[in-house]
Amino acid sequence: MILHNPVAISRALDRILPFVQKPARYTGGEFNSIVKDWDATAVKVALVFPDVYDLGMSNLGLAILYDAVNSKADMLAERAFLPWVDMLEAMKREELPLFSLETRHPLKQFDVIGVSLAYEQLYTNVLELLELAGLPLLAAEREHEPLVLAGGSACLNPEPMHAYFDAFFIGEGEDAITEISRTWAGARRQGLSRMAALAALSKLEGVYVPAFYDAVYRPDGTLDRTQPNRSEARSVVTKRIVPVLPPPVTRFIVPFIDIVHNRAAIEIQRGCTRGCRFCQAGMIFRPVRERPVAEVLEAVEAMVGETGFEEVSFLSLSSSDYTRIGELVGEVAARHGGDKLSIGLPSLRIESFSVDLLEKLEGGRRRSGFTFAPEAATDRLREVINKPIATEALLETAREVYRRGWPTIKLYFMIGHPTQTLEDVQAIADLAHAVRRVGFEELGRKSSVRVGVSTLVPKPHTPFQWASLADESTIRDQIALLERQLRAPGLFFSWNNPRETLLETVLSRGDRRLAPVILRAWRLGARFDGWGDQFNEAAWRQAFDEHGIDPDWYARRPRDFEETLPWDHISVGVKRRYLEEEYRRALRGEVTADCREHCYACGILTEFREERRSVADDGWGCPPLSGAKRRSAGGAA
């Protein structure tokens, strides 16, 4: 039976949906979902988050692109997600292809399939979705099929997935998604071959077509270079940015079922000037762009009216650094303090001002715990990672939190930072106990501390990209030490599986030789790798073994500055030289101050000079390109 139209798909759904979990994941029809006339719309884009609905619908990027495409009269965007395992089995049994939620068209019938590649644990899910959509897995084997395009943070090292995508988009896609889709659909309708259409795409800013590049390796196995094999391919593909944040999405789709984040969200600020050396987001989302307070307030008003959500979350990498955060919070509290709207304000700095802010937002309610991410437990190590805050100040802030009635503090740490010693690990336990004592003094047995510990994954495009993942036995010993010491009433400890961390590290730092390993692991049953209980370590181990690839060679081999990295031909505008200098400073324990105060010439201002000129002086966190500051930026770049 071949099912390739909406009516047949709907019939089949009635046969299988009564027997799967959360069937409303698969039916669409939500308030604010947009159903356009299929036959009357020229350019059709499927936006896919390669994990379940519950996760994908919580992704702000997807909502932004959905809005951007659907706002164009000649285009439509429809959503698809990867069905959960029970539905996957049912769909395969019924030979039902992956379909869009809005009109139930098979993905194959769209012009473009835009896949959100937000993190590496989605790689096997991408293969699952391509198969379910009935598409050849290998880009090289596709002919008349839709463009399979990736976007999102994991594209910053596209190489491990190079074989499966026709193109990767690097950077901020608000404008690019419509340009790419129209260019592709236009080229194909003109009768251009797939390769010629891809060549047209590769001329667009931020588009990387992996087929136009070759990776050359040295005898010792390290990468020599990634070079273009066609004249029109650029030697380095640089990310694309929007100089000013476009108006925020307010008309969010309102899911029927509970999803991970049941709320509307608004980015109050993109980018971060703190320069934490482990943090990929802090490096790749530069420059800092703030949204005006008035725009945020208006958007909140609109969201309440257009969605009816109970919660609106203010997103940014560091809410405390939003210049007018006090004013914003004061205004929101004044306007919405009375109604039942709750406002989420994550990523607050560890200082008592943060406690003031949340107190204002929550009014008399104490909804959840207070979350802080010191990431390291000693003053010294926090200087290495460039997240300086004194232990004393942390304890004072904790006291303030408990005193004002929040019973729970969550503390997030990482182990495995460069230069970390056993004392630094011991300090995590000591600090947790110290916070717990403070809680006990202020609130008694009601108080608690939750400690989450993950292992540093040295991510591409960060100063720590040359560092190595800690040895498994070391990680296990350190976790065991913490587990022994963090047993006390009111103290809760959780940590990440070191094997999952290893896989994440390998996939994020890998090169083209990992592509067949990912395919093999998937064929052996790996999928939903980010789901803990679904993580199929045996499949991955066998896949690595069969291809003679040692995961440790990718994850645990220290790399020096001489080595060509698999992502060196992808630029986020931050210069390699800046990252190298930051890594050296880390090893020397030197702090680099917030770059709002002083420009350290990371490269953004040079790379995006034109964009900088197009916005107001205070439009970016970076200094304006004028006078002395311009010389300092230009001079060092």
């Binding site: 709907s10 009635d14 046969r15 949906l17 009564p18 027997f19 069937p23 409303a24 698969y26 039916t27 669409g28 029809g29 939500e30 308030f31 309102v254 029927f256 079922i257 509970d258 309440v304 009216g305 257009e306 969605t307 009816g308 959500f309 109970e310 039942k340």
Partner: protein, 239 residues
């Protein structure tokens, strides 16, 4: 307890295919959000954890659509029924369509306690011919009893389905099988459900469409004199 609401509005609505897999709790929340979008003055319960004051007559099982579902919405300010309908129509998801609204006395007993049964139309996929299908229905009606068990938490309750089934009528062929109509009664401790009836008829897992056509309120009549979906001039008898 000190209540703030001044108006109790009874709304009849239809649910369509796109929302038939939405569970009852999610449906409740979908209404709450729609009422917020419509900026209607929904009343909340008092206390530490305020809940919206809405009463649905009867949860619609997942997979069913409804032609005459009923909900009571309690409001802190009086709103004209037509205005409420207009605002709700714009604010509800496309698969939930409000049909009628009328204020009812605030002191009437809860809607849920007044449900006595419902009319259903059921279509089921089968290769049965006309006679074979009619014979199945006839055989069930001949039975003196039909004991089923239903799990309630850890306990398994047994109940007789047969007296809950009335007016079982074959209504003809459909595109992929046969259709019948039936009145299923609701009694304290036992609510007749068409999926249970389907199982007794030998259609445990066959694809089906189930439409709840109308709910019966008050003293459930035997097929006639059905109280129109709560919009009657006569108050239902108090418990």
């Amino acid at each position: 307890m000190n209540e703030t609401y001044v108006q109790r509005m009874r709304v009849t609505f239809r649910t369509e295919d796109t929302v038939k897999y939405v569970g009852h709790l999610d449906m409740f929340r979908a209404w709450e959000r729609a009422i917020r979008r419509a900026r209607l003055p929904l009343a909340y319960t008092q206390g530490f954890n305020p809940q919206p004051r809405m009463q649905f007559a009867a949860a619609l099982p997942v997979g069913f659509t409804g032609e005459g579902e009923v909900v009571d919405i309690f409001l802190n300010d009086a709103v004209a029924p037509e205005e409420l309908l207009d605002r709700l129509s714009a604010a509800l998801p496309p698969g939930i369509r409000p049909l009628a609204a009328a204020p009812v006395p605030r002191e009437w007993p809860s809607l849920q306690s007044q449900v006595r049964g419902a009319d259903y139309r059921v279509e089921v996929e089968t290769v049965d011919g006309d006679d074979a299908f009619a014979a199945r229905l006839g055989a069930f009606q001949e039975r003196p009893e039909a004991w089923r068990s239903r799990r309630k938490g850890k306990e398994v309750a047994r109940y007789d389905l047969r007296p809950l089934v009335h007016d079982l009528r074959h209504t003809g062929r459909t595109a992929f099988g046969h259709a019948f109509q039936v009145i299923m009664r609701a009694e304290p401790g036992a609510t007749g459900r068409p999926d249970e009836l389907l199982a007794e008829l030998g259609f445990e897992a066959a694809p089906r469409r189930v439409i709840r056509l109308a709910l019966h309120f008050g003293d459930a009549p035997e097929g006639s004199g059905v109280t129109p979906a709560g919009l009657s001039d006569n108050p239902p008898p108090a418990d």
